[in-house]
Amino acid sequence: MLNVLWDGGSNFPGIAQFGKAFIELATNGDLWRHSIASLFRVTLGFYLAILLAVPLGLFLGRRQGWRKWMDPVVQFLRPISPLAWTPFAMAWFGIGDAPALFIIFLAAFFPILISTTEAAASIHPMYFLVASNLQLTSWESLCKIIVPATAPNILLALRVSLGVAWLVVVAAEMIAVKSGLGYLIIDSRNALRLDYVMVAMTTIGMIGLALDHTIARLGRLEAVRWRLERK
C-alpha cells in the first residue's frame, strides 16, 4: 500500500515523483513565475471588484428606490457562472490578461455587491435619526455611520469573494493566457505531466490558504471588533 503511494501508478504520480517535480519547478523558476502571474491577476481583479462593488452596494443599500429596480438585475446576473462569460470576455477583450481579469472581476463583484447592499440597507434607522438630530452632513453620515456600520459585513464578503476569485483564476487562465497556475495545469496535462499538474494543484491550495489567512486577520481590526462583542 505504502509502496503504491510512493511510486504512483499509471494515472497518478507517486510521492517521490511529486517531490522531484516540485523541486524541479521551484528551482527553474516556473512555479514562482506562474504563481506570481496568478496572484497578480487575482489581486487586480479583486481590487477592481471592491472599487466598484462597495460604493455601488452602499448606494443601493441606502436608496430603496434604486434597489427595487436593481435587485432583480443583480439576482439575474449572479447565478450565471463567471466562466460562462468566457466567450464574450474573449470577444471583447481579446487574448491576454484582460479577459481573465474580467472573469475574476465578475466572480468577486457579486458577492461583495450583495453583502454590501444588504449591510447598508439594514443599518438601524435609529442611527440616522441621531445623525439628523445632530445635523451631520451626508458626508459625515457616510464616514461615521454607513461605512463603519457595514465594515464587518464587507470584510466578511471580501473573504468569501477572494476565495471565489482564487477559485476562478485557475479556470480563467486555462483559456486565454500563457502564464499562471491555471495555464501550468493545462500545459502540463497536454504534455502528459501529471506530476506537474499535482504540483500546480498543491500550490493553488497553499496560496488559497495563505490568502484566506491574511484576509481573515482583517476581521480582527479594531474597526470591526464591536460587531463580535455586541451584546
Binding site: M126, Y127, L129, V130, S132, N133, L134, Q135, L136, E140, K144, I145, P148, A149, A151, A223, V224, R225, W226, R227, E229, R230, K231
Partner: protein, 273 residues
C-alpha cells in the same frame, strides 16, 4: 423663566397601519384582509395641548403604547403630526435639530466609535481640535466617565452607556432634552444613581427644558416639576400636576405620597400603594 418654550398645539398623530398604501396593480389588492389596508388609520395622539416653560422638568407617564414616545418624536421633529403643530420658541418644528436632542430608549451610541468619538460628534460646531478635546473631556467628567473615554460602548456597563448617551445629548448644548425612558433598561440601583445625576444635571443646566418619559412613578415624583399623565389611545392629557416640593425630595412626604396614590388612580391601578 416664565416664557413658553414648547407649545404643543392641538397635535394629532395618526399612524397608517399596513405601512405603504395599496399598490394599484397588486393582484391581491382586493383580497380578504388587504381590502381595507389603506384605510386602517390609528389615532395615537388626539388633540394634545401642552405648554412647557423654559427650564421645566416635565415627566410624561402613561400606559405602554399610549403614545409617549410618539409625542417626544413629534417634538424632536422625527414624526410630523397629522394635524396641529409643535412650536419651539414660537417657531414650528419641521425637522430634527441639535437644539432639541432625543435620548433613545434603546441606547443609540454608535457602537463603532469610542465614547469620546461619540461625544465629539455632538461637538461639531467646535472647530478647534484642542478645544473639542477639552469640551469632550468636560462632558465625560460631568457624567463620571473620564476614565472610559477611549473605550467602545460594548466595553461599558449598561449604566455607563446610558451616562455616555446623556453626555452626548447635552454636549450638543440643546435647549430641550427629550428623554425616552432613558433608564428603563437598567437595574434598580443604577437607576437610583442616575436619578441623582439627572437632578445634578438639572441644577447644572437651569435653562435646559427636560421632557422625561418614564414608567417609574417614583422616578417621576423625585425629579420633575410637572407630571403629565396620558390616557390610552387616542391619547389626551388626562392629568397635569405641578410638583412644588424642593429637591432633594423625600418620597414619604405627605404631599408626594398623596400624589402617588393620585397617579396610581389615574393609571387605573387600584391595588398598589
Amino acid at each position: 423663566m416664565s416664557e413658553n418654550k414648547i407649545l404643543i398645539d392641538n397635535v394629532t398623530v395618526e399612524y397608517r397601519n399596513g405601512g405603504s398604501p395599496r399598490k394599484p396593480w397588486s393582484l391581491f389588492g382586493k383580497g380578504r384582509n388587504c381590502g381595507s389596508a389603506g384605510d386602517d388609520v390609528r389615532t395615537v395622539l388626539h388633540d394634545i395641548n401642552i405648554e412647557i416653560k423654559t427650564g421645566e422638568f416635565v415627566s410624561v407617564l402613561g400606559h405602554s403604547g399610549c403614545g409617549k414616545s410618539t409625542l417626544l418624536k413629534v417634538i424632536a421633529g422625527f414624526v410630523r403630526p397629522t394635524r396641529g403643530a409643535v412650536l419651539i420658541d414660537g417657531k414650528e418644528v419641521t425637522k430634527p435639530q441639535p437644539d432639541h436632542v432625543f435620548v433613545f430608549q434603546e441606547g443609540s451610541l454608535f457602537p463603532w466609535l469610542t465614547i469620546r468619538e461619540n461625544i465629539s460628534l455632538a461637538l461639531r460646531s467646535v472647530k478647534d481640535p484642542r478645544e473639542k478635546e477639552e469640551k469632550a473631556a468636560y462632558y465625560l467628567e460631568l457624567v463620571g466617565l473620564e476614565n472610559s473615554h477611549s473605550q467602545y460602548p460594548y466595553m461599558l456597563s449598561g449604566g455607563m452607556r446610558q451616562r455616555a448617551e446623556i453626555a452626548r445629548a447635552i454636549a450638543a448644548q440643546p435647549d430641550i432634552l427629550l428623554m425616552d425612558e432613558p433608564f428603563s433598561a437598567l437595574d434598580y440601583l443604577t437607576r437610583l444613581n442616575l436619578r441623582e445625576e439627572m437632578l445634578y444635571l438639572h441644577v447644572m443646566l437651569p435653562k435646559t427644558t427636560i421632557l422625561f418619559v418614564t414608567h417609574d412613578i417614583d422616578e417621576a415624583l423625585q425629579l420633575c416639576n410637572r407630571l403629565i399623565i396620558m390616557s390610552d389611545p387616542p391619547s389626551q392629557v388626562k392629568c397635569c400636576r405641578t410638583i412644588k416640593a424642593p429637591h432633594p425630595r423625600n418620597l414619604t412626604d405627605i404631599e408626594l405620597s398623596d400624589l402617588r396614590s393620585h397617579i396610581y388612580y389615574h393609571l387605573g391601578v387600584h391595588t398598589a400603594v
